[in-house]
Symmetry: C2
Subunit: 303 residues, 2 copies
């Protein structure tokens, strides 16, 4: 088992309360476990720097608002993260690549106080391998219309909740089909997102020497009920500066099959090319490589 | 806070391992809390007797199969329940009315062994009050077509998972509208279920003296992606013996507005009449009372 460092947010400990992750720390009556009632974020620390911290904290609060869950302010999380990383460095070693998970549950039944903690641990080996080698993906129906999010706020679309059983089941289903990952579609046939990632699509034009003369990066539009991707947001800003045209869906599966490259992007696995979608190869190998290297380079440099 | 008795299923303790619910017993890396990845059941113990135990254990295993989660066999759960009730009697007192919760999570990340426990605690006061006084209910869109369950097994429709954030959000939304509870509808307009209950609908005919001469009990059909209700199943069997006609959906909201009575039925709150649906009164007061008393009497007597 990977070693995990745990720091609980605790009003009595302004910098957070360090706990031994090898011991039980949660109550069996916590609504986080009995109802999946809570929110979370997963961040990446590279060489000691927490990437996209403001965007993650902002989305944590946005998710919590959708759940009507009061969670501590940014500063309390920031302090606990600093404590967790110091503890990680002391007990595990270097901070070259560390995953930080923020969790806030509705707390123990009847106590009306959230349970909040920060976990720090090493990324799964599969993350690096998939990023380098690409993934095979299946399209799966998410069951929702692309226009339901706004008229049915109780469905919590766009909130990153702890109720991830469907996302996990979709990944198991993909594995049973020999694939690595999933892109969800809406019941009206729009491309949504991965269970733990945002979908990016590129179209490019090249001249006779193979030099890219036009490049466009597209992602599904937010009002389709997907999670606002912190990685997508950061990469779009960087890509715009680098001369990419940007676009927002609606996207249909055909748009993915016709693309010059498709990626799943997320905070820990980073920019991961889709090699096959429903068994069909995506893009032309050398152009995919060129575009992936350019975007990965841009994404590496963001704060 | 309600006193809870906790018994963990543990191969080293065939009768279960009693734990102090006032202390942390779960790991922060348990996939039950980080991913809502697990299943549960809620049972009622009346006067020392566990109601519908085989049906609940059977549904727990059925839910677990949908999640590809291996959980202990019936006997291990039964032993842990006996231990929990003995401990409850010893520490809290009489077993006149006790809620028993069975939980199985996918366990601590990377350990590939489920975390399983039995909790025993007193029912919420609101359960009895709502059962006696009835509830006001709003119809809310669940966002799924009624025919998606079979073609999209990764959506886990029909499994009772720990990922209940949407159910909890729907209840909060109902409360914000001044209602007590929710009946979900499918995106194609069919009546589905409550967030924690099954919907029952009655039609009755009376003679000139007000005596019931015909009575029919209907519930939405299972292939609409709802949870198979253990209470509905038991009550249907008893009602059939008592001369009720039985029927299975599809039901539409109009069928509820036109009904002589509508109930939400569940294991702990039992048979609870719906007074108003989207603000409109349901049924005629004295007939609702007659039908409720008859069905509640039948339901009380089931094992």
């Amino acid at each position: 088992m990977t070693q995990t460092v745990l720091v609980f947010l605790d009003p009595a400990h302004p910098d957070g309360r360090v706990e031994d992750a090898g011991r039980p720390t949660l109550y069996a009556t916590d609504l986080g476990v009995t109802r999946g009632d809570g929110v979370f974020e997963t961040l990446l620390v590279l060489d000691g720097h927490v990437r996209k911290l403001p965007a993650h904290l902002s989305r944590l609060h946005s998710s919590a608002r959708m759940l009507e869950l009061e969670v501590p302010e940014h500063e309390a999380w920031e302090r606990a993260i600093v404590t967790a990383l110091a503890e990680y460095q002391r007990t595990v070693g270097v901070l070259d690549e560390v995953v930080v998970r923020l969790v806030a549950t509705r707390g123990v039944e009847g106590e009306h106080a959230p349970t909040c903690w920060v976990g720090a641990f090493a990324p799964a080996h599969s993350a690096k391998r998939q990023r380098e080698e690409g993934v095979d993906v299946v399209l799966l129906d998410r069951g929702y219309d692309s226009d339901i999010a706004e008229r049915a706020p109780w469905l919590l679309l766009g909130a990153k909740t702890l109720s991830y059983a469907v996302n996990m089941a979709a990944l198991r289903y993909a594995h049973s089909q020999g694939a690595d990952d999933v892109i969800f579609t809406s019941s009206d046939g729009q491309v949504l997102e991965g269970p733990t990632s945002t979908v990016l699509v590129a179209h490019a034009e090249t001249d006779d020497d193979g030099k890219v003369t036009f490049k466009r990066l597209v992602t599904p539009q937010l009002d389709s009920g997907i999670l606002p991707g912190t990685s997508q947001g950061a990469l779009f800003a960087a890509a715009k500066e680098a001369g990419w045209e940007l676009g927002y869906g609606p996207l249909e599966p055909e748009d993915l099959f016709d693309a010059d490259a498709v990626w799943l992007i997320s905070s820990v696995r980073l920019l991961t090319p889709v090699n096959h979608l429903d068994g069909k190869p995506i893009g032309e190998r050398s152009l995919v490589k060129t575009l992936t290297e350019e975007l990965a380079g841009l994404f590496d440099r963001i704060a």
